[in-house]
Symmetry: C2
Subunit: 305 residues, 2 copies
């Protein structure tokens, strides 16, 4: 049995554990706030690795940001991680092999190997959080592209409402289908649609309405919240239809904090009524919050074994 | 040396020739109008094959329509081909092996093996004709998806102007970036933009302005035609940016009748200024009108050798 130190680096917290090559946890999961300073972050990486280095076979990182084609460094901008993060050569952090993969790719791999997409050799996992991430599996292989940056599905432009994305461009899918997108849709609908005047949130400032308000509002049968949620869902589904028509996958897996508010069978029906390729299954992810760690561990094992 | 009978089946004409495994022509290219009746079309297939069957090693079809995963039949609707075309089992047409592939996929394969994308293991060829077709190569393999229908890039929804596509859906990329799309953009601009009043086409009915009129008008420095062409190009480039961000390819190859009116280096500059993945090369296809035949022949050879 192999022992893999799996570390998931997010903007607010870092989690790690020992995992075997079957994706089973050998230890509990440790949780540490992500340092805001690059030297502190590097020291933390080294400390965690040093504590485990004797007993492990390899280290696997899942991280925000696009990872280079040799799986040794992060290449894209990572606004939630310290400046200098892109200069870390992960392969130099340990005397044993180190592997790094984008967190959405790692999570998709976990869903494919052990989770909701098990057995589907062509599958896409879309992660709905602050942004929209994607991990794409084609004939049992992770799509990485020429430079490791493939799968930037959140950057796909899906409509012409002219919304400015956090990346500075207009109309990225992410600017509509993410949590940030839901909040923006709530704001715009509050400003421009009279339905807001009857809402339970009518005394709130439009910019103060949160994604949680909308989710709660839907449960309270608030018409404004339901309308906002429907617009958000329609924008989400537009992008999913595009992906199915491009990739003709067996399944689409919906993951991330907002994913659980999607009715998968309803989404599947809408998507299958619109696509021009073959029927697709739509499912919610079932690997939980540790999918990134597990996926990275399995990928590291494949690479180094 | 192998002899491959390559047949390209289009809505208006059918062309065929003998090709070897290097993609070299062993005969001239024969050209026949495509029969409008399914029995006549099947008879024509059999006649062409019978005439060559003794000397060939295999037959390779490039065809309109999405092809099934075993490369034996067409699965999608093919409005320009006779009803019943989907029921043809191509593998039964000859006593020697028969292979069938979608024409856009076959053309992409030819560009990858011998043409503008040679050496680029990750590349997409986009064909701009009456519709928009795509062929996607990932790590040297054609992307076919679970059922053979992958690469329906023309069905990607790219904006919210609400244009109805010939497929019945709204806002497909094809409805903007194809020849049909250019004509629609010409029509809409003539109807709703005052610039038309100064155009060399101002005495034409908006619905009578053709794609050729627009191309000619650009050359005549007609402001209306230039505006129409710019809108069309912007819509085209929006979809190309999406594809690069999803696939992170080395190159994008632009093919088809309208492709030659694109300035590839200008398009490359715009695309690279917008993508979030690594830099991409944009090139015009250079395999010509026989790319479908050549690509199908090379793919058939790979499959049966």
């Amino acid at each position: 049995m192999k022992k893999i130190l799996a570390i998931d680096v997010g903007g607010t917290k870092l989690i790690y554990a020992l995992i075997n090559e079957k994706g089973e946890f050998l230890t509990g999961v440790n949780r540490i706030p992500t340092p805001k300073n690059i030297e502190e972050l590097k020291s933390l990486f080294k400390k965690i690795i040093l504590e485990n280095e004797q007993e492990i076979d390899m280290t696997a990182f899942a991280t925000a940001g696009a990872v280079n084609i040799t799986n040794t460094a992060v290449k894209s901008s990572t606004p939630n991680l310290p400046v200098g993060y892109n200069n870390i050569d992960f392969s130099q952090l340990s005397i044993k092999p180190v592997y790094v993969e984008n967190d959405a790719n790692a999570a998709a791999w976990a869903e494919y190997k052990l989770g909701a997409a098990k057995g589907d050799d062509n599958t896409i996992t879309v992660t709905l959080g602050t942004g929209v991430g994607g991990g794409i599996i084609i004939e049992g292989k992770l799509l990485r592209g020429k430079s490791g940056r493939a799968g930037e599905v959140g950057s796909m432009k899906i409509n012409g409402r002219g919304r400015i994305c956090t990346c500075g461009r207009k109309d990225c899918w992410e600017s509509y289908a993410s949590g940030t997108g839901l909040k923006k849709t709530a704001y715009e609908t509050a400003l421009y649609d009279e339905i807001f005047n009857e809402s339970i949130y009518k005394n709130k400032k439009p910019e103060e309405i949160t994604t949680y308000d909308i989710i709660d509002g839907v449960n309270f049968n608030d018409e404004y919240s339901k309308k906002v949620f429907e617009i958000w869902k329609k924008d989400l589904i537009t992008g999913l239809i595009n992906l199915v028509d491009i990739f003709d996958t067996e399944s689409i897996i919906i993951s991330g904090g907002l994913g659980k508010f999607i009715n998968a069978s309803e989404a599947q029906e809408v998507i299958n009524s619109e696509i021009v390729t073959g029927e697709v299954k739509v499912r919610l992810a079932n690997m939980g919050n540790y999918a990134g760690m597990i996926g990275a561990a399995l990928l590291a094992y494949e690479k180094f074994s």
